[in-house]
Amino acid sequence: MDDVINQDGTVARELKTGTDAEVDMQSTNESQSRGTVGDIYVDDPRMTCRNVNVYYGDKQAIFDIDLDIGKNQVISMIGPSGCGKSTFLRCLNRMNDTIDVCKVTGQIKMDGQDIYDGALDVVPLRASVGMVFQKPNPFPKSIYDNIAYGPRIHGLSDDKQHLDEIVETSLKKAGLWEEVKDRLDQPGTGLSGGQQQRLCIARAIAVSPEVILMDEPCSALDPIATAKIEELIDELRENYTIAIVTHSMQQAARVSQRTAYFHLGKLIEVGETDQIFTAPKHRLTEDYITGRFG
């Protein structure tokens, strides 16, 4: 986990200035919710998060986050290491459930349904909110089986032919089909890093999710592979809602429509990507994107 709040001297000082700034902003009434600057609402939300807090044991990692994630939009989450952006992302498909000490409070709704409702099963949730991880993690199986695994366990295919179609369309959507169509039976782990990551995206697409979460999907890739993935994200926006955590501000600027800036577990500023990168309203956001820290 890289989302551990790091409280060394410098960051603590920034926090102090940050709080001052928040007070300023609140007094000018530009903020609409709990210290977040900018518009947290969108007209057509796929997911709505209200008052989300996350605790690792006694430590609180995320504080009172309110955020809407719009349909067919790419929202990027940026911020310094340990700011809680990955933790927040993992709340959206309840991946944090796998960590024993992790506790999530507040409300996260997807299409009006509370995903932390006890009655809701986590398996269909994860089928409709797919995830791509930081490090490409294909199963040590064939390329075909990597893609077919999700549809198989969810019973999405009627027969072998249908499954073949799902595999093909998923790989085509992930832009990998041309590269691997002749070697579907070879292990997925034998592909290059960029190909593996696109394989993981194809695997997520194969179960036809509505939302795809990406946790720094390009941090282990070279620039060419990164460019391919970014292109892919742009294409996928047509059919899917995408939330992406990234360390690269250029990447956030290139692929996303909205950007959320996190700092020490708090959501500092949300807004249109252009606005965040050209005219940030909060001092912390400005400091971060101008490279004064981070």
């Binding site: 498909n93 991946m95 796998t98 024993d100 398996v123 269909p124 949730l125 994860r126 089928a127 797919g130 995830m131 791509v132 991880f133 490090k135 993690n137 294909p138 199963f139 040590p140 695994y149 999700g150 366990i153 969810h154 782990t189 993981c200 695997r203 997520a204 194969a206 179960v207």
Partner: protein, 421 residues
Amino acid sequence: MVRVEKGLARRYRQERNFKRLGLGAILLGLLFVSFLFISIIANGYTAFQQTFVKLDVYYDPEMIAPVGETDPEILSAGNYGGLVKATMRELFPSVTNRRDKKKLYGLISTGASYQLRERVMQDPSVIGQRESIWVPADDDVDMLIKGHIDLNLPESDRRIKDDQLSWIQGLQEDDRVEKRFNKTFFTAGDSREPELSGIKGAASGSFFTLLICLSISFPVGVAAAVYLEEFAPKNRWTDLIEVNINNLAAVPSIVFGLLGLAVFINFFGLPRSVPMVGGLVLALMTLPTIIIASRAALKSVPPSIREAALGVGASPMQTITHHVLPLALPGMLTGTIIGMAQALGETAPLLMIGMVAFIVDIPGGAMDPSAVLPVQIYLWADSPERAFVERTSAAIMVLLAFLISMNLLAVWLRKKFERRW
């Protein structure tokens, strides 16, 4: 810079010394192992050969049964011992004295009469005929031929007396003495006579014991490891269980023997000396090894694989059975094989449950009394006959061969299924 360079020589010297130390340790280890192997092989290789004597037997109808008799009961009741003696008397007609005759008969193993009986039972038409047959020599003769008897000793200190020596010489001149492959060693059970004893009884006992042990400890061990690693909450109780499993792995094996004696034999009333009880006791003993190895194997499956499976919506159960277990299985199997090898070589707990008994019959199942290989070695090592010395070493060789092949299998499995992420 100068200061750094000054220290450099010392650093490199330390490195060299450290390397030498490690190399020395390995060489020392190799030396001991080679010494062990050389001494065992040098002692034991002769056991794979056995001296045989050619006898021209006349299947005397008076001693066995009338010509044409086929009833097995009558055939088996024949005086085959007398047949061997008559043949020996015929070979050395000069021996007339009763005491000398006894010494003469002593050259041939008592197994010879069984061999003749078998021959007749198989083919009753040989009755009344004469044929040459190779029968095992007595273990003392065998030792003499293999050069283990010091002829410089005074006669009274030797197992082979002077007149016996001359008879053997006569047999040798007649080309009636030959060393042949010792099939008996691999096909017979234990015996008081070294030349008739073999390891098959002990080997089958070991086989049944390990079979019981494996079929209990593997499923139980893997299930326990999966539960502890994947499902159990991390709290004080699971910590306690973990500590106890580690403790169990360190409990002296004889304690497990006592436990087996108290629980399986005294409480559940299972019979003594049977592979069933042996297997149960060894299963208790190998369980901690298997659990610990299996947990390590499960831990070594990278979390990214679990996340990947959970991320596409697999249930925890599916994540484990589809992804984690297949990846952990080689490690689990390796641990199990090593545990089995340990169980195969275990002696102490089996002594406690009576598997140390002298058992001649080859067991046909897990409920037949039997010995196991290491206990057989222990029993033979205890026997005074010189011929048992080489048989002990030979049995050790067989046991080591099994152990080494099991360990090789473990290494092979690990290499074959090793995956890279």
